[in-house]
Every structure is written in structure tokens, then in C-alpha cells.
Symmetry: C2
Subunit: 688 residues, 2 copies
């Protein structure tokens, strides 16, 4: 048995580091170019000038637009046009000169990296790109890094890529060089915010607000030049934990004053802090319920303290009873976030954003989109995704998450043309009427999207080298949710392997595209979820959570399996959706089959649309899925010699493990179904 955290799966501090999607060769087109930068003094502009310089360009930085330089010798001009939407940029080339116009320093930075992605084309021919504007204003990564190594969860909770970039066994790292490189990677794809500590805020981490505030300052100093704003996860009980008060009641004047004073001191040290991230009344974390207060009371408490500093509260809606009685079928964890929050719509201050997981349970490979995301028109909302693949292979399995995220962002809550990402863009779960009368993009200040980071000290940053594409893809989708997973993958391949043999890209596409469906095919079937090893959440344990207090049951017996969440006979969860979903999900006939067991308890001999029984359907998907992974592993041998040997070996090792684990999933689930259903496999494959 091992820690559930990050520690020991990947090499760390070997002295070698993979450059991810910013290899040195990517900047080759800039070499020996003369670049004129006309922009005010600003740390982010300074970063761009440094970047140009490191690339071998000659940068001429003029802070005064009236100053002149000989245009004749200039290859690239970089200027600012404050008329553009915030953070936007426009790229063009004509008359032998390339131009980058940014709305502001961050726009310039993002445009610079976008120019690099054009490769040699950046300085060839005549072309003009439309203005590139981020769809969502706040594009954030949440780190679940602990300062102290947690006895069970380790240095990084649910981290699968080595130690923390920030902390090392109780201390802030002395050498923050990796943080600088990380910030550069994030900036290159437009991420503009990071929360620097785990949402489960233990005693030591609580002191980031006070005695360890200088650590926040230091991290902010390293992230600021890359246009990245720092957020702090705070402990709702901080006034008590820090020993100052005996209460954290949000309606207690002393508590309000404490947060105001503390926050003033925090902003004195870090004037551009983004704000606070809070997990309250969730999985043992303290919260307003202890005082009979609502989550609006709790969130507004912090919002009031942050308001004078233009800070915001990201308040997580991951609130449910984690001490449920498995015998009690009347309680449905899927209902919890909606039931807790929807009635509070309109009660939150303007600088509160509710951060809502994409599904009603917890980052499973397949869940319906959370109905809460489209249920609070008078509240700012933020979609929460998870790049670290806690339940989706833990960066040991190939699992290209943008394939799931695109489905989520493209979900149409009202069945009409309004897509979920448009709600995130305006930051409010507007009714279709209001979104049609006003272009979602026109109200951009409120939008937000966040994801749990997947990086660590691993020499490939992410454990599985292909998991870099998930981080890349999250950022690109946050910028432009209309990008397809395939297009993003091609971008990532182009940046990461810019000079590779042409045989490589098709091979990578073959392995990575479709990997989400493949992972789904051999794990918990048809949206039923969980079936993972308790604690570690890696590998199969069909009944692992079946008799637990966590509210994640499948209710399998000799008759069938699945959770009845219908209004007719179940928990009524389907009623939390707008039409047409409320009815589509309600009926076994119209419910999408990939979600069948999420919404319905179904007999093993239920006939699926293709005529197979449910049991046979599960046999087929699982045997086929496990076999497909073995094929991918064989396919990868063709990459030997096409990529650097370290990367080849790392992927090969991970694929070996994926083969073993996929076969284990397949055999345990099919044998479980066989033992319960007694239905033999039509194809006579081995059931144990």
C-alpha cells in the first residue's frame, strides 16, 4: 500500500526536463529578426521582450508611441490597441512585415505565443487573422498542493506527476525555476489565474493568510510577469484555526472584522491577488452550516472583505452528505449541489462566483452535465473541470480529456442552440431568452472556468507525456470552446514535436484521439460511475464503494444494476433539468445509452438499442476495450526512433500498465456481471 498522493510514481529532479509544447526549436523563426515593441513599461511586456531576446531576436522596445524607429529594417512590430477586447490580439503580415497588436500587455503576450505556433508562416507571405479574443474571462488552474506532506494524500492531493512545484515537505521551494517555466507554459496558452494551495486547507496551509503570507508574495512575483493572477484557497474556519476567535459564524461582527482586517493585510502584500477559493461544508471542511447559516452568508462574508480590493470569491458547490447511509435509497448525492444552491440564486454579492463541477457526482468518465450550471440566472457561475485524471486513469492511461470537455462545453441546457460554454462566457446561467437577446460574448467580465491542475515535478510535467495535451487542451478550450479535440491535438503535436518525422503525427492521432471512449469502454459501464478502488481511485473494485458512506452506489443484484433517478419511481433528479432533458433522461427509451445506468436501474436482460442484452453489451464493450489497448501498445512500438528515447520508454511503460489495468477492469467487471446475471457471453470469452 502506498500514499494516495503524488509522491512516488514518476522520476523527479533527474536534472532533465521535457520542454512540453515549448521546445527551443519553436522559437527558431524569431532568430535574428528585428522586432519593434511599442508598449508601456509593464512586467508582462518585459516578459515578451525577454522572450524575443532569448529567441535570438533583436528587440527594440519603445515605451512612447511618438518615438520613431526605422521601419525599413523591422521584421515584426508589436503594438497596443486598447480598443480591442481585453486580452485579445490580432496578427497579420503584409508588406514584408508581421504585426502583432495586443489589447493590453497580456494580449501581446498571448499573441506572441500564438505567432510562434504559426511557425515559419509567421514571416512568410501576406495574411491576416481575425482578432483572437478569449471566450471566458477567468481561465484558471486549481492546485491541490499541500505545504506539509499529508499522511494519506501526500504532497499533492490527487497528484500523479511527482512532487509539488511550489512546496517541498513543509517549505516553499527555495528554487522556483520550475514555477517560472510552468508559468511560461500556462501563459503560452492563455491561462491567467492559478490557485496555489489545496482546497482542503489544513492547519499549516491556513497560515498562508498570515504568517506565511510572504510565500504568497514570492509566488505571485514569479507568476505576475506571465500575466497570471494568484488565488488563495482559504479555510472557512481560519479565524478559529489561527487562534484568533472562537467562532467563524459569517453573521458574527467579529468574524467579519477579522476577515476584513486579514484581507487588508493580504492585499497590502499582494495588491493584485485574484481572491479566495473556498471548499466549505464539504467532505469534512468547515462551513456556514455549523452556525445555521446559508452558503450565501458564507460566501458573502468573504466577498465583503475582498470587495474593496476588487477580489472575488470562488465558492465551490461540491456540497453533499459524505456520511450517507448506503441503506438509505431516498438520498441521492447527484441531487445535492442543486438542492443546496438553487434556492440561493440572487443572494450572492457580485464578486462571488459559484464554482460548479461539470457533473453532479465527481469527475467520473461519464456523467450528465450538472443541472446547476444552467439553473442560477442571477448568480455568477464557473465550470470546474479536472485535468489531473483522478478517476480517469491518473495519467497512467492514455486519456485525452478534451474529448469529454468538448461534449460538456457543447451541452445545450435548453435543447436550443445555447451551449453551456456560452453561459460560462457570460458567467451566468441565463435563461435562453436573455441569451438570445444579447450576444453572450458581449458580457465577458463575469465568465470563468477552472480546472484542477495535473502538473508536478515529474520530468514530463504530467506523468504520462500525452497528459500534457490535456493541460494544453484545457487552456485552448477555455480560450476558444469551439475548437475541436482533433484540432487542438494537432496544435499540440505541432508545438511539441515541431521537427518530427512526418510518420509521428498520424501515429499520435491514432493513439490519442478516441482514448476517452476507449477508457470508458473498459471501466464503469454506461455512466454508473465509481467501481474504483476505494481511497486510491485507481483500478477496479466493483463493490468498493457499494456499502460505503460516500453516496456512490450502483445497486447491482441478481436482477440488474443502476440508479433510478427518475421522477416516476426514483430520486427525482431528472426533474432538475430543463426540458427536453428532464423528459429525455426520464425514459429508458430516450435516455442516451451511455448514461443509461446513471439514470435507471435496468435488468441484466434489458435489450439495448442494438438488440444485445445489457449484460452482453457490457461484455462486448469491455472485451473490445481491453483488446484495443493491447493494440495501441503494439502500435506505439512504431514510434521507436521517432521520438526521444526517454519519451518513447515512458509512454511504453505507461501503455504496459494500461494494458494490465484495462484487462483487470475488463475481467473484474465482466466476471461480476456474469456472477450476478448468470448470462453467458455469446462469444464464449472467459468469465471467472
Amino acid at each position: 500500500m502506498a500514499l494516495i498522493g503524488s509522491e512516488d510514481r514518476s522520476p523527479d529532479d533527474t536534472g532533465w526536463l521535457h520542454p512540453a509544447w515549448l521546445p527551443r526549436s519553436l522559437t527558431a523563426p524569431l532568430r535574428a529578426r528585428t522586432v519593434l515593441v511599442v508598449a508601456p513599461e509593464h512586467p508582462v511586456i518585459r516578459t515578451v521582450v525577454d522572450e524575443l531576446s532569448h529567441a535570438g531576436a533583436k528587440a527594440i522596445w519603445l515605451t512612447d508611441t511618438d518615438a520613431t524607429a526605422s521601419r525599413a529594417v523591422i521584421d515584426l512590430t508589436i503594438t497596443i490597441d486598447p480598443e480591442l477586447p481585453p486580452e485579445s490580439f490580432r496578427l497579420a503580415r503584409h508588406g514584408g512585415q508581421t504585426s502583432l497588436v495586443g489589447a493590453d500587455p497580456k494580449g501581446v503576450l498571448y499573441g506572441h505565443f500564438h505567432l510562434l505556433r504559426r511557425g515559419r508562416l509567421a514571416f512568410q507571405g501576406q495574411w491576416r487573422q481575425p482578432v483572437s479574443t478569449p471566450a471566458i474571462g477567468l481561465r484558471m488552474l486549481d492546485h491541490w498542493d499541500n505545504i506539509d506532506v499529508h499522511p494519506v494524500m501526500g504532497q499533492v492531493e490527487r497528484g500523479y506527476a511527482g512532487g509539488s512545484l511550489f512546496y517541498d515537505a513543509g517549505s516553499l521551494r527555495w528554487d522556483l525555476g520550475r514555477v517560472d517555466q510552468y508559468a511560461r507554459l500556462l501563459a503560452s496558452v492563455g491561462v491567467n489565474a492559478v490557485s496555489i494551495n489545496n482546497v482542503n486547507v489544513h492547519a499549516t496551509e491556513t497560515t498562508l493568510l498570515t504568517t506565511r503570507l510572504d510565500w504568497v508574495t514570492r509566488l505571485a512575483d514569479h507568476l505576475r510577469p506571465w500575466g497570471i493572477t494568484v488565488f488563495l484557497s482559504v479555510n472557512f474556519a481560519a479565524p478559529i484555526v489561527l487562534g484568533d476567535l472562537d467562532s467563524c459564524d459569517p453573521c458574527d461582527q467579529r468574524v467579519r472584522q477579522w476577515w476584513a482586517d486579514t484581507t487588508d493585510r493580504v492585499y497590502a502584500a499582494v495588491p493584485d491577488l485574484g481572491g479566495y477559493l473556498v471548499k466549505a461544508d464539504s467532505e469534512g471542511q468547515p462551513g456556514p452550516f455549523a452556525y445555521g447559516r446559508s452558503h450565501a452568508d458564507g460566501a458573502n462574508l468573504l466577498a465583503r472583505a475582498l470587495s474593496p480590493h476588487q477580489g472575488v470569491v470562488l465558492w465551490r458547490c461540491f456540497v453533499y452528505n459524505h456520511r450517507q447511509d448506503w441503506r438509505d435509497r431516498s438520498t441521492d448525492r447527484a441531487r445535492a449541489a442543486f438542492d443546496h444552491f438553487v434556492e440561493l440564486d440572487g443572494a450572492f454579492l457580485d464578486n462571488v462566483i459559484l464554482q460548479i463541477k461539470h457533473g453532479p457526482i465527481d469527475f467520473q468518465v461519464r456523467e450528465p452535465v450538472s443541472p446547476l450550471l444552467a439553473a442560477m440566472p442571477r448568480t455568477r457561475v464557473c465550470l470546474e473541470l479536472q485535468v489531473t485524471a483522478e478517476y480517469t486513469g491518473q495519467q497512467r492511461h492514455v486519456h485525452y480529456l478534451p474529448e469529454a470537455w468538448q461534449e460538456i462545453l457543447g451541452f445545450r441546457p435548453w435543447g436550443d442552440e445555447t451551449k453551456l460554454w456560452q453561459l460560462m462566457a457570460i458567467g451566468q446561467s441565463q435563461s435562453p431568452e436573455s441569451t438570445t437577446t444579447e450576444s453572450p460574448r458581449s458580457v465577458r467580465s463575469g465568465g470563468a472556468i477552472a480546472a484542477v491542475s495535473n502538473v508536478g515535478r515529474d520530468e514530463f510535467w504530467t506523468g504520462h507525456p500525452f497528459a500534457q495535451a490535456n493541460l494544453y487542451g484545457f487552456a485552448r478550450l477555455a480560450w476558444d470552446p469551439t475548437l475541436t479535440p482533433a484540432a487542438i491535438l494537432d496544435e499540440w503535436i505541432g508545438s511539441t514535436f515541431p521537427e518530427a518525422n512526418p510518420d509521428l503525427a498520424p501515429l499520435l492521432r491514432q493513439i490519442i484521439l478516441g482514448s476517452r471512449a476507449l477508457y470508458e469502454s473498459y471501466t464503469a459501464p454506461n455512466g454508473v460511475g465509481f467501481m474504483v478502488t476505494p481511497g486510491s481511485h485507481y483500478g477496479p473494485s466493483v463493490d468498493g464503494y457499494e456499502y460505503s458512506p460516500w453516496g456512490t452506489y450502483h445497486f447491482a443484484d441478481r436482477e440488474g444494476i443502476g440508479v433510478d433517478r427518475t421522477r416516476a419511481s426514483g430520486s427525482g433528479y431528472t426533474g432538475q433539468y430543463h426540458q427536453p432533458w428532464a423528459d429525455l433522461f426520464e425514459s429508458v427509451e430516450t435516455c442516451p445509452e451511455e448514461l443509461l445506468l446513471f439514470f435507471h436501474h435496468v435488468r441484466w436482460d434489458h435489450r439495448m438499442h442494438d438488440g444485445d442484452t445489457l449484460a452482453q453489451h457490457i461484455y462486448n464493450s469491455h472485451f473490445d476495450g481491453a483488446a484495443a489497448i493491447h493494440s495501441l501498445a503494439r502500435l506505439w512500438t512504431q514510434a521507436d526512433g521517432l521520438v526521444e528515447p526517454r519519451l518513447y520508454r515512458r509512454v511504453a511503460e505507461r501503455l504496459d500498465e494500461q494494458c494490465r489495468c484495462a484487462q483487470e477492469w475488463c475481467d473484474q467487471i465482466t466476471s461480476y456481471v456474469w456472477r450476478h446475471s448468470g448470462i453467458p457471453d455469446d462469444h464464449g470469452r472467459p468469465l471467472y
Copy 2:
């Protein structure tokens, strides 16, 4: 989630300590007595004299038997008669004088404590007790204490009573006062050996052989005055782990020399060390298999090094494949110890003792007695029990283990009158012919019994105060295996609560006697075993180990449950027994029902002897068992005021937890049976 080890369940270092079965009042009859001790200078005799003195007696110690003292004023004479069997004693009283005759210093020590257990009768009337002789020569407790806190297993592996008496987070404890008190408790019931470190010997613990040898010396110095010999658990790979050699091949001359030299140095420091305890080729521990050598080669390697010092090797037979494939039903872990060792009979040197767990699996609440114990007539064998209740309630549940041990010790391997304990007494699994031609007691030097200790820094020593009775009972059964659990319990009650209200003893008997059957009634049914939470081994998880590599399966499906270990259709394990057991276990009809699922895969609708289906039998035992625990908890409220408040509260808390946990076991197992079998409960009790 928490560490699996001992750390956090019981108060530690509160400054208060329960005296266990040696309360101060027990020594009251000695107060103001004049005692003549005629015995040679010896640390154990010194201990007895100190004991007398602390009890308020006037002790006159003469080391020369020719010296005289006025007999008239003497209340108790203590003398030595070397004609008695080793460690024996005889107690008598006539002419107004009590006499204790010991065979040797240890006999005197044991006789002294036995006299105390007679209470006021020790100095009243005329009486004569027969010579009391220990049935088994080596009566040992194995500590699974780690020096370093293991990241998963904690300070004490499978310890449920606070920290280690010996070590504290990497160091030997400075204050060994608790060790002295512990040694006194052990000596008072005749335990004469202790192994001081975990059989899983990690890197730090390996250095007890070398750079930390002074710690062994210090512990031996504290245990020696109580007649307790120290054993060391050693790492078979020590020559490699300590960096001296690149091999631990038992047939490599360099390895042999290393062990000889190292052992010489160990004995120079601790001349009376008992020897080494070894777990080799087991659950990841290194061993001779790595070099293609047998366990006889491995054990004899150490035996040769120990032989010049009269040391012995206790070599554990807990050898099995812990990376079994759950799909493979041809491998049966129950067979493993027998299959590995029986063919080596006769190949071990005289100072090797094979230490064999009582059952073929691992300390479950119900297993058949290991056939290996009666299968090696030319090899010294030792029975291994477990006082720390890893699978039997972890000292949170009332579980009186002597009730199981008496069954084990009383097992008749050949169906005739020869009992297992008689084999342990002679230390060899003799054929019935040889045991009948020679009284087992006449060859006592070879016998041994060992048990994994259950004590820690907890203020009640054992977590559950009633678990003290398990430690007490182990020692008493090791001395006299013919004692009944009821008699031992009465002894323990009498010593532990010597001045209690007469209502207490019947209450304690009602709660403690039968508690093993009660625990069995609500946990894994009919000998099928496991069904515990993986890792912690506490609480139910019916399928927790079903798809694991550990070889502990129940094979439940919609038809039935249990492991076919017959010769006719199963693993053939029944063939490892002598007759009549080989045939009795083979048949579903004659197999004892409490072991039915250990030996047979049985349909849910199989009719038990009482006419109930197997499913109904499980419903009945589990609902009744859980209900009985609730009754015990109510019964305990009658003890309020009869015992010290701390003890009352501790037991009450543990009973509350036992109620919760027993109900959980009941509900999970009955629901599991219901979901698989579809058989409703005749009495309509809730199934989920």
C-alpha cells in the same frame, strides 16, 4: 483514511496506567510477612526479593543453604529443588508456614506470582498443590513493532493499543519504565521470551544486528530480570541491506561467514539472546527462493551461525504466493505452507523451529487447524497464534480469544486422543505411535508456542480493557493447555478486580464468555474468511479481497458461495489432513458446519442440518449476532459504579463501536446474500 497501524485509537501517555492483572491490592497478603529465600545469587531471584519487598514483606535472602535462620518467625520459605522439571514450582502450606519450591530461579518467580493468585488462602489452612510445570518450554510473544514509523503500517504493524513500548519514531525509548512493567506482567503468567521487532524487517530495523545492537542489549537488560529471553527478527537479506555483500545466498560461503561473524558479535553483546525469528519469501520479504535454495538451506544458514551460542532459529512457514491471479482457481493459498515445507521434514538442523500459524490462511475467526502442524515428525514445530486481533475485532470488539485457542490446542490431528498441544509440548509433530509410546511431557526441551503481542502504550495496555484477558489467557494456555477459557477468565477477573463488588464477575462472564462465537456470528460466515476492508482489515467489505492478488476468495455468485477444497472436485487441500479429517472435511455432509464454506462451494439454497437454507442460516446468525451485541452494550450499563469510571467509559465506548460495526457487518453481509441469492428472509428483516 488513516494509517493502518496503531497510532491514533487510544490515549497514550496520559500519566495514568491501568495495572492490568497486577493491581497493588493483589500483594496485600504478603504485607508484613517474613519470607526466607534460600537461593543462589541470580537476577531473577533478585527480582523476587524486590517483589517481596515492594509488597511490604520482610525478605531474608540466604544464598547458602547451610546458613540457618529462625524458622519460628518465618511465614513463607522459598527454596530451590533442581530435581523438579525446569521452570516448575510446588506450593504448599502446613504447620502455619507456606512453602514455595522452585526448580530454578524462574520456577521461583512463577511460583511467587501463582501464590499471589491464591489470595488470602496463601497464608491460611493446610494445603498442598501438585507440581506446576509448563507444558511448553518456549512461551513467546512476537512484537510487530517498527523502529521507524512505517508510512502505512505505523509504529506497530497491526497494533491496536497505541504506540510501541520499545520505540518512538526512530529511537529506542529513553524511559523503559513501561517495558519493566510489561515484563513483570508477562513473568507473572510465565511468558519467557519476546521478539522485539517486526517480522517485516525494514532497513532501520535490520541494523539491530549491528549499529543498533546496543538497543538490543538495553532491552535485554530490562527483560532478563523477569526471566524473559530476547529474540531478534532478522532480515534474510541483511548482508545486502547492510551493504556488506552483494548476495544473501545461503550456500555462498561468504554469506555463511557473514552470519557467523555477525552472530558472534551479537552474542558478545547479548550472551543469552534466544536467537532469530525470520519471515522469508513471504509477502515481499527476501528469502532463499531468490537463489533457488530451499527453506531448509535458508534456516540452516542461520542455525549454523547460532549453534555455537545455543541460539535457535524460529522460521515462519507463512509462505504463499501473495501475487496470485484471482482468475486462477487451481491455486489454493490454504495449501501453500504444507506444500512448501512438508517435503523438507528432516532437513532442518536441531536448532531450527518452524513457526506455523494455527490455520492455513491468516488468523481468521474460523479456520481449520493447519495440517502442517501434524505433518513433520522429524522437525521441531511451534504453534503461532495472534493476540493482537487483526481480523478479530482489533481490540475494539469484545473477543475472548482463548475460546478459539482452546479448540485449536485441543484439536486431535489423528482423531485419537493425541491433542495438538501435546505436539507443541514435545515440539515435534509426532505420529500417534511415537506419542503413545512416550509421554509427550517427557521431551519438553523442544516445544514452543508464540503469539503476536497485543500491547502498546495505551493506558489499558490493550485498547479494549477486556483484551488484557487475551494476553493473560495466551500465557496461561501456554503453561497449561488443559485450562478451560472459563477457568482462565475467572482467574483473570480475580486478579484484575480482586476487591470488586460480587455483582461484577457474573456480568463480566456474561459479556466475555461466548464472545468469540458472537463475533463469528456477524462476520464472514461458516469459515469463508476475509470479507474485511482491504488494508485496514477492520469492518466488512464482502468483495474487498475477491478480485485481489491475495488468494483469499469466496467465489460468491448468484448460485452459491464458498471454496471447493475437496480432493474430488477442488484444490485437494482436504488431502493434507490425516484421517479421519481428510474424509470428514471432504464431505458436505460430515464437514463441520462452521467450516462448511472453507471446504465447499455451496448453493444458497443448500439445506443446513437444521433445515434452513444456507442463505437463511446466514440471515439468522447475522441478525441474531448483531442484536446480541446491542444487548451486551445495554448489559454493561449495569457495571457503572462497579469498576473505575475510566474503565467503565472505555468499555462503553468500545461497545458502542462494536454495536455500530456489528450492525454494519450484519447489513452488508445479509444484503450481499440477498442481492446474490434472491432468497427472502423468512422473518422479513430488512435486506437492502
